[in-house]
């Protein structure tokens, strides 16, 4: 396991009496691609700004490489930020933009020149030295913002919704670009986004946040397949979240029907939430499923059909490559491994999620 | 400490800008007729103001010219902004260039040029020449406050209204006008204020026999300002402050409402 580079200890922050971050604890490893994911107002950007030094937490500490940097101003920190909407210096050429940090550090002219060349090559914009930021497209400006940050050889690059202003195709291209960059540079990326697909594609670790609390930390697979609560399940991809009862270990009663599952330790007859991904719902012939229902809607989505099936008073969202016309009576089956059991929200952290819903 | 310096600096500027205003208000209560010495507190200038036909006539002229000129300027300026929306870049730049001339040019030159125009046209100097001149320098203020609103406007809303069967006039007043209204109002108020405060252009275009408050004050400078003038200015100033406070209170309330809706 790589060593911890940054530790956030008991960070709290409020604006005008409104708590934005509440006792947040998080560590970030060296060379990790970590994404802070959540809806707007969840505290992800504030966390990033605290890391960058643009905000000071009301309480708590930021430890960077063993030393406390909580109150260190941004210009003294070994991290650089790629800002939302780029924040390029419009009165300077591209070269001057990239050279900004290096000139402040009084690097030699030849060193700066080499660095500009290297950085522009890295972001595939060779020959743009003398252009002005205004003459570049959004995607190009974004690359310049990245180049401007990385020439300073930061140990950590902070990215604040860097792809938010780009169109879909460009966004997808840039995602691969960012992964490549991170691997080439071998530094830590801390990425803020509200786009779950972006987070799943790029991250080593995802931190799902809501209302100032961390909801879950884990790898993309873990977050997607084993959401710890209804908020995470609902925020990451489509899902069927159903209030159910855990009859005993490995058996759950969903909408009056009993399903085998693999989870244990919830106790007997305990109320739980169950998450089933739409692609994990299997539609079978009438009277052969665990639950019986009727197809109520169908939409062709390209890769699959998206259907809604009314069964035992719940509208199930189903993704399937097989087509069942509206009105077809079908049975529903779910593989035990695909049933994810979650505790009903009891702690404050999880309550936050239900409030927002 | 830093905050203290900031506040202190703003405080000094504030004193600098408002010291003369406080002086004038104090003078309006000064029972001595010369402004050089304080003769005790009195309301008598306020009483005699009501009897002073000449000052009241000048006040009336000032207000009616300010009102008419800003109203006409608002109509012409707003129409010009609407027209400019559908103009080519070059034409628009030309229009805006012309608009900027009275803004950037010296008032004295504008005043003289208008005076020469009226002389060569043989227009009799008086109320109408002042009004025409005020409209001229007011239009740019209207255009410059309506134009930014106009640019923010989504052009498709107008087209959408037409698509839904509205006539051009109906679509304009139902869809476009409400959106640019704040700009139009700002423009009107700016124009009104500018007209009220103008001296130089009025000075060159007024001719004998008619006075606004500004020109009246200017002719009184040599022999000494009548204290009634201070009383009148104080009344106007206090009235405007009260008006602003009322607007502010209502404005804040509606702003809070907006905030709540946003959440």
């Amino acid at each position: 396991m790589k060593k911890e580079l940054i530790t956030l200890q008991n960070i709290s922050k409020s604006y005008d009496g409104q708590l934005v971050l509440d006792d947040l604890n998080l560590f970030i490893r060296e060379n990790e691609f970590l994404t802070l994911l959540g809806p707007s107002g969840c505290g992800k950007t504030t966390t990033l700004r605290i890391l960058g030094g643009f905000e000071t937490p009301d309480s708590g500490k930021v430890i960077f490489d063993g030393s406390d940097i909580t109150t260190l101003p941004p210009n003294k920190r070994q991290l650089n930020t790629v800002f939302q909407k780029y924040a390029l210096f419009v009165h300077m050429t591209i070269a001057e933009n990239i050279a900004f940090g290096l000139k402040i550090k009084k690097k030699s002219a030849s060193y700066i020149k080499d660095k500009i060349k290297y950085a522009l090559k890295l972001v595939n914009l060779e020959g743009y030295e003398n252009r002005m930021p205004d003459s570049l497209s959004g995607g190009q400006q974004q690359r310049i913002a990245i180049a401007r940050a990385i020439v300073n050889e930061p140990k950590v690059l902070l990215l604040d919704e860097p792809l938010g202003a780009l169109d879909l195709k460009l966004r997808q291209d840039m995602q691969y670009e960012l992964i490549r960059l991170k691997n080439e540079l071998g530094i830590t990326f801390i990425y803020v986004t509200h786009d779950q697909e972006e987070a799943l594609t790029m991250s080593d670790t995802i931190v799902v946040m809501n209302q100032g609390y961390i909801q879950q930390i884990g790898t993309p697979e873990k977050i997607y397949n084993e959401p710890e609560n209804a908020f995470v399940a609902d925020f990451i991809g489509d899902s069927n979240i159903i209030a159910s009862t855990m009859v005993r270990d490995e058996l759950v009663e969903i909408l009056g029907a009993r399903f085998a599952c693999v989870d244990k330790g919830f106790g007997e007859n305990a109320p739980v939430d169950v998450v089933i991904r739409p692609e994990d719902v299997e539609l079978v012939a009438e009277n052969t499923g665990t639950i019986e229902g009727v197809v109520s809607h169908i939409i062709f989505k390209g890769v699959h059909y998206e259907m809604e099936v009314m069964a035992n008073g719940f509208e199930w969202l189903v993704h399937s490559t097989k087509m069942f016309p509206v009105g077809t009576k079908v049975g529903i089956k779910v593989d035990p491994y695909n049933i994810q059991i979650m505790n009903k929200p009891v702690s404050e952290d999880e309550e936050a999620s239900t409030v927002n819903e | 400490m830093k905050n203290f310096i900031k506040r202190f600096y703003i405080g000094i500027i504030f004193v600098f800008l408002y010291a003369p205003i406080v002086t004038l208000i104090a003078l309006s209560f000064n029972s001595s007729k010369t402004r050089a010495k304080w003769g005790g507190f009195t309301f008598k200038w306020y009483a005699s103001l009501l009897q002073d036909e000449i000052i009241l006539q000048a006040l009336w002229n000032t207000l009616i010219i300010a009102f008419l000129s800003s109203l006409i300027a608002t109509v012409i300026g707003t129409a010009a902004c609407v027209a400019m929306q559908s103009m080519s870049r070059k034409m628009r730049a030309l229009f805006m260039g012309i608009t900027n001339i009275p803004m950037l040019n010296a008032d004295i030159v504008t005043g003289i040029s208008l005076m020469l125009l009226y002389i060569s046209l043989g227009v009799r100097f008086g109320f109408s020449t002042i009004l025409l001149s005020h409209i001229t320098f007011n239009i740019p203020y209207v255009i410059l406050s309506v134009m930014p609103r106009m640019k923010q406007l989504n052009p498709h809303t107008y087209e959408a209204a037409l698509d839904l069967g509205a006539s051009h006039v109906y679509a304009f007043f139902k869809v476009v006008f409400p959106d640019i209204l704040p700009g139009v109002l700002t423009g009107f108020l700016m124009a009104f204020t500018m007209s009220l405060d103008d001296f130089i252009i009025t000075h060159f275009t007024k001719g004998a026999g008619i006075d606004t408050l500004s020109t009246k004050i200017y002719t009184e400078v040599k022999k000494g300002i009548k204290p009634e003038m201070y009383a009148l200015s104080t009344i106007i100033f206090i009235a405007v402050i009260c008006l602003l406070l009322i607007i502010n209170i209502f404005g804040k309330k509606s702003a809070q409402k907006d905030m709540r809706q946003d959440n």
């Binding site: 930020t81 924040a87 | 012409i76 004295i108 409209i135 406050s145 004050i217």
Partner: protein, 271 residues
């Protein structure tokens, strides 16, 4: 098409009739004599000792007040843009509200404040400080100019400063710049359009004023504005007055060109 014409016609007519033609008239009168014959005499009249002196003094006083305005206004604009005051209430208090007190009266009030036995000198003598005797001198005129035109400098600079994206400043700090470096390399260059527009907004009225010099300079100090005003209202020599105005306009035009070069889309404009 007709609708568009109907909308633009009034303004087009107005601007030709009341802006362009009058300007042409100044040029016509400036380049002719009483018989209507072409002459450069009215323009050359600026070279006479009396006129040249007035122009020189006008330039000197307006330059000094422009610089003073800039020096006072920039920190003020910085402070205001860093505070969370709503833009509207600030503009109203600094800029609009005083205008409702007639500007001649406000300027005259400085007489009362500056007089030998006036308010300021009373305060100064109370504090055992030397008296300030500037009334009816050029410094009093400068004070009047700064007083009247300061808002025209504050507003454009303020507008330019608040337009700077907070993240751009953050980016500079993020890249290692300290406060001073951030100011010199980022904030100052980005506020230049506002500064230029402020300079034009102050310099032109200061250069051409005749009111402030009349009110605060006594009757002895003549600025170029006073000379022109007297040619029109007292001497009745429109030809000479126009000629001198043309000379004045050269400065104004230089100013306009400067401001349009630095401020292409009117970003720093007063509104």
């Amino acid at each position: 098409m007709n609708r568009k014409k109907a909308l633009q016609a009034p303004y087009l007519f107005w601007s030709v009739m009341f802006i362009l033609i009058p300007l042409c008239m100044i040029f016509y009168y400036g380049f002719t004599d009483k018989t209507g014959a072409f002459t450069l005499e009215n323009i050359m009249a600026i070279a006479t000792a009396e006129h040249a002196k007035a122009l020189w003094l006008s330039m000197l006083l307006s330059l000094v007040s422009t610089v003073l305005c800039l020096v006072i206004a920039y920190p003020l604009a910085m402070i205001l843009s860093s505070m969370n005051v709503s833009q509207n209430s600030f503009i109203v208090v600094i800029f609009i509200l005083p205008m409702w007190m007639n500007f001649l009266l406000r300027t005259l009030a400085w007489q009362t404040l500056l007089e030998k036995t006036g308010v300021i000198n009373n305060i100064l003598s109370f504090l055992h400080l030397p008296a300030l005797n500037i009334i009816n001198t050029p410094p009093a005129i400068i004070l009047g100019m700064v007083y009247n035109f300061l808002p025209f400098m504050v507003l454009p600079i303020y507008n330019a400063l608040v337009k700077i994206d907070k993240n751009v400043i953050n980016a500079a700090k993020d890249l290692g710049a300290n406060q001073v470096q951030t100011f010199i390399r980022i904030i100052l260059p980005l506020s230049i359009p506002g500064v230029i527009s402020g300079i034009t907004m102050v310099f032109v009225p200061a250069l051409t004023t005749f009111v402030i010099s009349t009110l605060l300079g006594g009757s002895k100090i003549l600025l170029i504005g006073n000379v022109i005003e007297q040619e029109f209202t007292r001497a009745g020599n429109w030809y000479l007055g126009s000629g001198l105005s043309i000379v004045l306009m050269i400065f104004i035009i230089v100013n306009m060109v400067l401001s349009s070069v630095f401020d292409k889309d009117g970003e720093g404009a007063i509104l």
